[in-house]
Amino acid sequence: MNTDYWDTIAESTVCIVPVYNEAAVVSEVVDSLRQVFPHILCIDDGSSDGSGLLARKSGARVVTHVLNIGQGGALQTGFSIVSRENRYSFVVTFDADGQHSPSDAKRLVLALVASDAEIVFGSRFLETSSREIPLVKRVVLKGLVKFNQYVTDVRLSDAHNGLRAIRVDSLPSLSFTHYGMAHATEIVSKSLQANLCIKEIPMNVRYTAYSRKKGQSIFNSINILFDFLWR
């Protein structure tokens, strides 16, 4: 691929990384992201372990929540800043626990640029990548996919994947109210309401002992369900 072509796209792309107590891995994540994307915006969601400081030292721009409000709230803050600044054309949402690969994020952005899509979701369940997902997690995620399909009427193969690429001009249609993990379902439902063009492409997830520990458990999926139904 032409390097200049990617450089031009990367210049107009910002990676939003919600961070909450990820001191063990955040520097590594930001370092690896910066090799592909020049603009990283970390939203420190009230971390108490100095994650925000570490991300800043690694070269990311960091905006801090004074209290923890949830991953959805952190993404919403990132979206608001990007929309108001009007500097970028594309946004990538990227998890801070190190399970995503910057090269997958790059593929998502390229897919966004090359197509009519307004949002490209990464999917762990397309092709063979799902075999690497631990069994319990696979069951939970499949359950969430079914729930997502029931609530939103959109048939996506992966419902709660943090890796997405979005066109900045679509962000106002995605303004969500769920500040917890239920935001992932809300993003899909808002996309549907706004008639946004959605695309999914396969991606790999690196499950380390750390990301398994921090990832979504069955209990969290119950919380997501209640969060979504309560409001």
Binding site: G46, V63, T64, T77
Partner: protein
């Protein structure tokens, strides 16, 4: 009696939701009225115990003590529901404040850096 109980049960659900979730002036006033009525009922019960027997009989509840237990459960449920709802509303407002503060500080910080 059964019809009376059915009407009470049917009326309780929307009244409960309105009392618990309502944030307007009307809901606030009604919560005050319900609280006053509750306190009034307690005073009357203490002063004229026979009235509770009469009310229990009219509602088809076996004893006045049962009626008091039911009323206490309903009052506590409403109160707990109201407090939980109030906390959730406050949490939402707090989240909005935190979000807005972060956005403003992020924008200000960027403008101080001269749009690097």
């Amino acid at each position: 009696m059964t019809v009376m109980r059915l009407i009470l049960a049917l009326a309780f659900a929307p009244a409960f939701i309105f009392l618990v979730r309502g944030v307007g002036m009307r809901a606030r006033a009604l919560r005050g009225v319900v609280l006053m009525l509750g306190l009034g009922a307690v005073s009357i019960t203490l002063t004229f115990p026979n009235i509770v027997d009469f009310a229990a009989d009219a509602l088809g509840v076996s004893t006045s003590l049962d009626l008091l237990v039911y009323l206490t459960i309903l009052t506590l449920t409403t109160l707990v529901g109201y407090v939980v709802g109030k906390f959730r509303r406050l949490e939402k407002r707090l989240n909005v404040v935190i979000h807005e503060l972060a956005v403003r500080s992020g924008m200000e910080h960027q403008s101080h850096r001269g749009d690097s």
